[in-house]
């Protein structure tokens, strides 16, 4: 038994999980299957997984735990969102400008998000990206992306 309001947090997650389960099950009905599927075909497994996910979501919706996470400041999200955006930008920039420039830029930002001033962040970013490139591309022969513009 939970007191009114205490299960709100779990219920939100349960609702998201339920929507995901339904979408997943629907996705399982959308692909074409071959002429031989065995007794349990490739879509049945998807239905099974979606079914259990849906069932457990409903259970959590009806019987949420009293768990309430620690409150978080908006300040933390003001750091997380730039990090996420920077990683997305990294994936978009990498094919064009290559690893060294994109990673150095990303590292400057990450370092500053964790409290460095811009000088410390720049030194840290250049050293780390350079060492990483040297290790992977130079010594191990693993390409980290050279970029179309510098090929």
């Amino acid at each position: 038994m939970t007191t009114p309001g205490t299960g709100t947090y779990d219920r939100r997650y349960a609702l998201v999980a339920l929507i995901f389960a339904l979408a997943y099950g629907f996705g399982g009905s959308q692909f074409e299957v071959g002429f031989y599927n065995g007794i349990i075909g490739p879509h049945h497994w998807i239905y099974g997984v979606a079914g259990v996910l849906a069932l457990m979501s409903v259970w959590l919706l009806l019987q949420p735990t009293a768990f309430v996470p620690e409150e978080e400041s908006w300040e933390a999200w003001r750091k997380r969102i730039p990090l996420c955006l920077a990683i997305i930008l990294y994936t978009q920039g990498l094919p064009y400008v290559g690893f060294l420039i994109t990673m150095t830029a990303l590292m400057v930002l990450v370092s500053m998000l964790f409290g460095a001033n811009w000088k410390q962040a720049t030194v840290c970013a250049v050293v780390l990206s350079g060492l990483c490139l040297l290790l992977f591309d130079g010594l191990l022969g693993i390409s980290l992306g050279r970029g179309l513009w510098f090929r």
Partner: protein, 507 residues
């Protein structure tokens, strides 16, 4: 007769173990043991990168370098048990356990450090880890072949039930809400089902995206859910939330302290190994059980106020448990923790299928690993005590250096799997989902187990259904299946017992 064959089995085991030394003592393997032990110690004590992340990030590198599977396993195992040593350094000096397995060590370790006995606590932690880790390797050599003989009779139905048992055990032992753990496990299975179906060749849930045809690599999932989610967590923490680091003092233990701790180390090693063998239980529960047992057994004691045996018990137990956890991984092909789940995924990628036939088909992998653990434990005690000052300095690395390094390794680790930016994006998506799940108290270990075992459980389930012509009775027919169901049911009762044990340990 039976007695004779058991003795013969023991002789065989030790003969194989000696042959394992031939594998482990090659220059390449010795270097990898050293590297694993050093990396493991460093990683274990740093917040934000546990052994799971380290193995996930290193995996694409060793794969590209075409390192032999036995050597890869030796490296990963070195990181795994090395991290247990590393954990204790931050637990004792900073009161910050690197992972939950070292949480118990803080009770007496940090108390000792505050009394100016941090060096003694670290020395005892190294001695107990060495004792527990080394002795448990003998247990591994003894019991693994016995279990392999039993597991050789497993068919698809038994394997399916075994994996169900692993899921239930891991979900129960995570000690939070069972419903959340099941949801987490099925989310893992849902991710694993994406891509080409291995039985029929049909592409599932790929939405026409070429990048998804081969499925989502488990490394991408691990880096996202563990490493990136941890980064997002750390962005919300302030650096001044940490306790001040205690100064490092003399490492010399008195003869009395060693003598008093020997029985504790031995008992904790045995209990730790037994807990480690259970899928899902792992080092955390092993260390709590060992600590609670010693606290009850040793009267009078100063447990909780800085008793050196309070450091010896959890350290011996969690190292022994990490060795024990290789039994379900290698002999049954069922990992018991997130770290061994990642190792399983890695071994499968190398074309090695862990299971009862591993001892017959690739004995060099199993016995080479067992022998390398001896060498690794020896290196750890020889290196760690003199280098503890260096490790303490690494602990003081500012976050603005450490976190960019971790971010870079995550991104590079994800990118090098297929040389694709798409995997980096997936890592970010999984990181955000992982962060939100952790905030809502969803355990992530069942999810990783779901991703790693998803294909295996589906294939075995479908095979069993073909054999039985669609009857689910096949999962309840054999004695092995029934035993596994009973064990699964019993593991559902485990949380109640563990909460009691934790209560005793803490107070």
């Amino acid at each position: 007769m039976a007695c004779g064959s058991a003795e013969g089995g023991r002789i065989d085991s030790f003969q194989h173990l000696l042959e394992g030394f031939v594998v482990a003592l090659t220059l390449q393997n010795i270097l990898f043991v050293l590297l694993g032990a050093f990396l493991g110690t460093t990683i274990g004590m740093l917040p934000g990168i546990g052994p799971v992340n380290a193995i996930a990030v290193l995996f694409p590198i060793v794969y590209t370098l075409e390192v032999p599977p036995a050597t890869v396993l030796i490296l990963f195992a070195g990181i795994y048990y090395g991290s247990q040593y590393g954990n204790s350094i931050s637990s004792i000096l900073l009161n910050v356990p690197g992972t939950s397995a070292a949480a118990v060590t803080t009770l007496d370790g940090y108390a000792m450090a505050r009394q100016g006995l941090g060096g003694k606590a670290l020395a005892m932690s190294a001695v107990a880890s060495f004792g527990g880790g080394t002795l448990s390797i003998f247990f591994l050599a003894l019991f693994a072949p016995i279990l392999a003989d039993l597991a050789i009779s497993f068919g698809p139905a038994e394997y399916t039930v075994l994996m169900v048992f692993a899921f239930i055990a891991l979900s129960s032992f995570s000690l939070g809400s069972l419903i959340k753990a099941i949801l987490s496990a099925f989310l893992g299975l849902a991710i694993a089902a994406i891509g080409i179906d291995s039985t029929t060749g049909v592409s599932r849930l790929t939405f026409g995206m070429l990048e998804l045809y081969d499925g989502i690599d488990f490394i991408v999932v691990v880096i996202g859910f563990f490493a990136v989610s941890e980064l997002l967590f750390m962005l919300g923490e302030r650096e001044d939330q940490q306790a001040p680091m205690q100064p490092l003092t003399s490492l010399l233990l008195s003869l009395k302290e060693i003598r008093d701790s020997i029985a504790t180390i031995l008992r904790s090693c045995v209990s730790g190994f037994l807990v480690g063998v259970l899928p899902g239980a792992g080092g955390t529960i092993a260390s709590f059980i060992a600590y609670a047992t010693e606290k009850k057994l040793l009267q009078p004691n100063r447990f909780g106020e800085g008793d050196v045996r309070g450091v010896a018990a959890p350290e011996s137990a969690n190292n022994s448990a990490s060795v024990g956890s290789f039994i379900p991984l290698l002999i049954l092909g069922v990992p018991g923790s997130e770290t061994t789940a990642v190792m399983l995924g890695g071994l499968i990628s190398f074309g090695v299928t862990p299971g009862p036939l591993l001892l017959e088909n690739s004995p060099e992998i199993f016995w080479g690993l067992a022998a390398s653990m001896f060498i690794g434990n020896f290196f750890l005690i020889v290196l760690n005590l003199p280098l503890v000052g260096l490790f303490a300095r690494i602990l003081q690395t500012p976050r603005w250096v450490l976190m960019p390094l971790i971010t870079m390794l995550c991104i590079v680790g994800a990118y090098t799997i297929n040389g694709s930016e798409f995997d980096v994006l997936l890592v970010l998506i999984f990181g955000v989902i992982g962060y939100l799940m952790r905030r809502a108290d969803f355990p992530l270990a069942p999810l990783i187990l779901g991703v790693v075992l998803g294909d295996l459980i589906e294939t075995n389930f479908r095979r069993a259904m073909i054999y039985s012509d669609g009857s689910v009775a096949i999962f309840f027919e054999s004695a092995i299946c029934l035993t596994l169901w009973v064990m699964a049911f019993l593991s559902l009762l485990a949380p109640v017992l563990i909460r009691k044990i934790k209560g005793v340990a803490q107070g």
